[in-house]
């Protein structure tokens, strides 16, 4: 039987949704429209200064900027590290906390701690941990006799982005552990037991039963990882500010610097528009892909 909604109900529904709609449009829709609008102007951030319409010039400058390619490469490294480092580590951690161990709660808490600390505090903490002049990692290397190792991981262009990526992995592994843990809990125990009766070993059970049934958790992880990598900012900003030189630049730092260091708000909004657009496209594509693989 089809549900009939009369006019009064419809008005009520609109009325009840209004506070949420208001809030949503004020904090999200309006700023997004402004970002796109301002990306077509040249403006120095001073209200009295006229905004000059420049069409697609900001996008042209951004896409032809050498730093765009550096940021793109670094975002690629972030995404790759997500799948190669965060995914296996968090899945492993999730399996550990699934075991009936007396230390289960301790593990769970320890793994999740980075998630409750502010990102800025984490970045600062690691900045000092990796400080090459007397920092704990430098001291450890010295203790182990690794005197030939250049311990300035954040200060060298060839290692800076990888150091940040590892800090990022440390930060997000606990959160993703929870996602996979929820997925593992939802797998019926009977399936594993049936597989064991059929003679499957642990490896076979994991790859043939557990992993395929974790698809939904993996989808959430993949979406978070890719969108998070595209929009990453605070970890890079605090540890290297995109340096040394431009070596660890990401889109977030390009956006920030163009607005607050270069007074180039139009360009900065073009970067912002690119971020919004690419995040949206990636979410749509991934959702479609996940739906397809479901079938």
């Amino acid at each position: 039987m089809a549900l009939r909604i009369d006019k009064t109900d419809r008005i009520k529904a609109w009325f009840l949704s209004l506070p949420a709609l208001l809030l949503y449009s004020a904090v999200l829709i309006y700023p997004i429209i402004q970002v796109f609008r301002m990306s077509f102007y040249s403006w120095n951030g001073i209200p009295a200064s006229p905004m000059r319409f420049v069409g697609l010039l900001n996008y042209k400058a951004f896409l032809s900027d050498a730093r765009f390619l550096i940021a793109l490469k670094n975002v690629g490294i972030f995404i790759l590290s997500g799948f190669l480092v965060i995914f296996p580590v968090s899945l492993f951690m999730a399996t550990v906390i699934q075991k009936n161990s007396p230390l289960k709660r301790v593990f769970k808490t320890c793994y999740f701690i980075p998630q409750v600390i502010s990102r800025t505090a984490i970045a600062l903490m690691w900045y000092f941990v990796l400080y090459p002049d007397g920092g704990p990692v430098a001291n450890l290397c010295e203790l182990l006799g690794l005197t030939n190792v250049n311990v300035n991981f954040l200060g060298r262009p060839e290692t800076a982005i990888y150091a940040i990526v590892l800090i990022n992995a440390w930060t997000y592994a606990g959160y993703n552990m929870l996602i996979f843990s929820a997925g593992l809990t939802s797998i019926p125990q009977e399936l594993n037991e049936a597989a064991l009766i059929d003679g499957a070993n642990g490896r076979q059970t994991f790859f043939r039963i557990t992993l395929p049934l974790l698809r939904n958790s993996f989808n959430i992880f993949a979406l978070n990882c890719i969108i998070g990598s595209i929009t990453t900012f605070e970890m890079v900003f605090v540890t290297t500010n995109g340096g040394p030189g431009y070596a660890s630049e990401v889109f977030g730092t390009l956006l920030y610097k163009n607005a607050f260091t270069y007074n180039n708000y139009g360009y900065s909004n073009a970067v912002g528009a690119f971020l919004i657009f690419s995040s949206f496209i990636m979410s749509v594509l991934l959702t479609k892909l996940f739906e397809k693989t479901k079938d």
Partner: protein
């Protein structure tokens, strides 16, 4: 259905714009009726005598002026300070009193009315400015751009200088090197003894920018700066790249030591105090801090090294007026009178004299004091060089109307310490300059 969706979107947009449309300029009045005035400087480190003095004076001002709530938003990190300042401007609520660097790089703030012309107030109150040295107002005058007036009060004229740890040189039997040729000659012995010849904290990119300008003055004089700004010289031209090459040469032969990307200007100071560095390149703003070092007796203040082969530029300096205090409130604004009172308080002869006494005569000041305090040895040494300066400029990029140039040059120069090639550095800077000029029809 479609009509409903369109209606919903239109409603959302209109309603979300309402608070923005309704917002307007409000008077800065605290709930207790006091006029709120915010002040933003880079004086936030109580470990530095002159910054501690500033903080004490903010507290004193609030005590003496019960009708004003002076809120100190100062933050020592340059980038954070800039972000705070620019955000306040972009949001339409500019901080009332702030430190301002002047020069062409900040022309937009003057042209677009953020910074207030205070020449009328200076004329109306001649006593306020009587002790100021006239030649310090150049960077806050914009007559060459068709803008009349004065847009700030100088508080901190400076000169770059070097501090040498004489004890190290005495220990090794090396006379204090005054030229780059002598520093290069002394480097092997200093390195062999385990000392960094000249600590260079490249982690903060401004260090490279300062060094480049100071070096350019010793190599070419201020004509080079003029040629770069006019476009006659290019950042990737022979002269400009030669300077970068020389910086890289100094780095390659070990003059700057190792791990430069691992420490900043404070790291340079600590290396000097800990007897790890034989020389540091800094400025007169650190005279009071260095004076307080445990090994101050071992230290000597000298000018930035020059080239034996270019003696004609021996006394050309990077320095001059740099830090100004400016205001954004305009005559007629409800908080103008309070803002002006704050400006006058922190740029008054009494304030500066108090700072002079608090720092025991250390440092450089924009006013001439009627009574001088016998200054410390380091300040006297600095002044003996400073007074011989024949030409002086601020950082080259400050003279360019391209506001982003300063960070672009500094960031690219920083890559010397990460292995970049001098020509590539020059090319990268010039590309940015060309792009900006073409976009701005310059």
């Amino acid at each position: 259905m479609k009509r409903n969706i369109v209606l919903a979107v239109v409603c959302m947009l209109l309603i979300s714009m309402m608070p923005i449309m309704a917002s307007g300029n409000e008077e800065n009045t605290a709930s207790d009726g006091k006029t709120v005035v915010r002040i933003l400087t880079r004086f936030s480190n109580p470990g530095n005598p002159r910054e501690k003095y500033f903080q004490d004076m903010v507290a004193k001002f609030n005590e003496e002026n019960p009708d004003i709530d002076l809120q100190d938003l100062s933050i020592s990190d340059e980038g954070s300070r800039d972000t705070r300042f620019k955000t306040s401007i972009a949001s339409g609520d500019p901080i009332e009193v702030f430190n301002f660097l002047g020069y062409a790089a900040n022309l937009d703030y003057v042209r677009d009315g953020v910074v207030t012309d205070i020449s009328g107030e200076m004329e109306a109150d001649p006593e306020w400015v009587a002790a100021y040295k006239d030649n310090l107002f150049g960077p806050v005058r914009y007559d060459e751009f068709g803008i009349s007036g004065i847009y700030g009060m100088p508080i901190d004229p400076y000169g770059v200088c070097c501090f040498y740890n004489k004890a190290i040189f005495d220990e090794l039997g090396i006379p204090l090197p005054e030229t780059w040729e002598e520093i290069e000659a002394a480097t092997p012995a200093l390195l062999a003894a385990g000392y960094t010849p000249m600590a260079f904290g490249a982690m903060e990119n401004y260090r490279g920018g300062h060094f480049y300008t100071a070096l350019s003055m010793k190599a070419y004089g201020s004509e080079f700066k003029d040629a770069l700004i006019s476009g006659e010289e290019k950042w990737n031209g022979e002269k400009a790249v030669n300077l970068i090459s020389y910086m890289k040469h100094l780095y390659d032969i070990g003059v700057f030591g190792e791990n430069n990307m691992a420490y900043n200007a404070d790291g340079e100071l600590s290396r000097l105090e800990n007897k790890q560095a034989a020389i540091i390149f800094t400025g007169s703003w650190n005279l009071a801090a260095v004076n307080a070092f445990s090994n101050a007796d071992d230290l000597v203040c000298m000018g930035f090294p020059y080239f034996e082969s270019v003696p004609e530029h021996k006394d050309d300096w990077m320095g001059g007026p740099d830090c100004f205090i400016s205001i954004s409130s305009k005559p007629g604004d409800p908080d103008y009178e309070a803002t002006l009172r704050v400006l006058k308080y922190f740029t008054s002869y009494e304030y500066l004299k108090g700072q002079y006494e608090y720092c025991n005569g250390s440092g450089t000041y924009p006013v001439t004091f009627d009574e001088t305090i016998p200054a410390d040895r380091l300040t006297n040494e600095f002044n003996s060089y400073y007074s011989n300066a024949t030409d002086m400029i601020g950082e080259i990029e400050q003279y360019d109307a391209m506001a982003s140039l300063i960070d672009i040059v500094r960031t690219n120069l920083q890559t010397i310490f990460t292995g970049a090639e001098p020509q590539a550095i020059g090319d990268a800077i010039q590309l940015e300059v060309d792009t900006w000029r073409s976009m701005n029809n310059y």
